[in-house]
Symmetry: C2
Amino acid sequence: MNSESRTWTAALLIIGDEILSGRTQDKNVAQIASWLNVQGIRLTEVRVVPDVEERIVAAVNDLRGASDYLFTTGGIGPTHDDITVDAIAVAIGVPVVVHPDARAALERYYETRGGLNDARLRMARVPEGAELIANPVSGAPGIRLGSIFILAGVPHITAGMLAGLTGQIEGGRPIVSVTVGAMAPESEVADLLRETERANAGVSIGSYPFFREGRVGANFVVRAEDADLAQQTADLLAASLESAGYPAVPGGI
Amino acid sequence: MNSESRTWTAALLIIGDEILSGRTQDKNVAQIASWLNVQGIRLTEVRVVPDVEERIVAAVNDLRGASDYLFTTGGIGPTHDDITVDAIAVAIGVPVVVHPDARAALERYYETRGGLNDARLRMARVPEGAELIANPVSGAPGIRLGSIFILAGVPHITAGMLAGLTGQIEGGRPIVSVTVGAMAPESEVADLLRETERANAGVSIGSYPFFREGRVGANFVVRAEDADLAQQTADLLAASLESAGYPAVPGGI
């Protein structure tokens, strides 16, 4: 199958009590979604589960078959609540082993930071058969096990790991977005949006209303794999909005 | 059963292509999680799915049995991609009907805004048997169907709906959090954290490292339903950190 001809998909599993308690504002959904778009991969589901082994195992087994790739974030640090590696090993049915390159990377990183201890050595543990993902920010590497990518939860460390994976994962064509804005209440142009989407197969149109300076408006985002189709549909939509009495703003408001 | 004696739980289903595409930074997980904590309800899972009926139906049916409450956000506006009400009606197996009070609320709201049209009337549609949740911000109400709460996706509208639900939903005791900070690498105090958590049943301790001004530290968050237990455990943890050579900062750094 030609890799350009099919849609590549990914799921994201966020592991962390701190997200579910509301203590920490998640940044990884938007960050990973945007990065995946550039790789030509669509994020099709996100789940957030607590630091509880059976919940992680169940989610991994639900998600890994449903998409081409599964990304996880969180739970790969040195403390007692960092159980992601163990849970994924249980889900896949492989033992946990110490990866020699991860151990070496941690030894180098901690050489001037107090040395490797048992807690730090936990971060060299991987499901058997895994490869490492470079961590340019701190000591502990990410982990790739086939189609599963196990990343850090701290957003700037996640970003460093994603940078190293850029261009390394097979994907399709990136989704192209073209935005058109108008000071139009979305409830007055709903039919127009629906008809424009229906008349252009392969296009989806999202409607994102806002309220500014006492007036309502919306940005309409036209998405398609085919850049020309996205642009043509956006142009058609802009013309329809103009006809309906709403000056269209290419690029959005 | 005494309502104080058991744990009340909720799941959150976020419906929206704009979150999965990375276009929009989600704010509702943290907002709803924090609000649920105050109601004495724990958020135990979050899922994000696209604006696709079968995906919404499947997620609703997975989640609604697993927690006491299910909250959804997104997809209740007037446009073609707003299909949450239809999907939830399919999941529950009831028809969609126009709620007379929602219709009346929309008629009032749009009286000075161009009048009710077909698209706007979509926002009066509810699964049969549903009650309304007041929307103090814009015209379209939220919807309660038994233990399912269908809320808007725009965070400040969601917030208005939550405000009206405050104190209206049965919960248990709120989870109390007490934070202790220290300029300690978490990998040097991992054993101490694990032992403190193990020795205090009913307590969970989260570890949230940071890197500031060239030094690493962490905030340790002690959570429990019993406020005294949380405080006592935090005090014990602070004393243990001090003994290990790390001055503890009550309240966190």
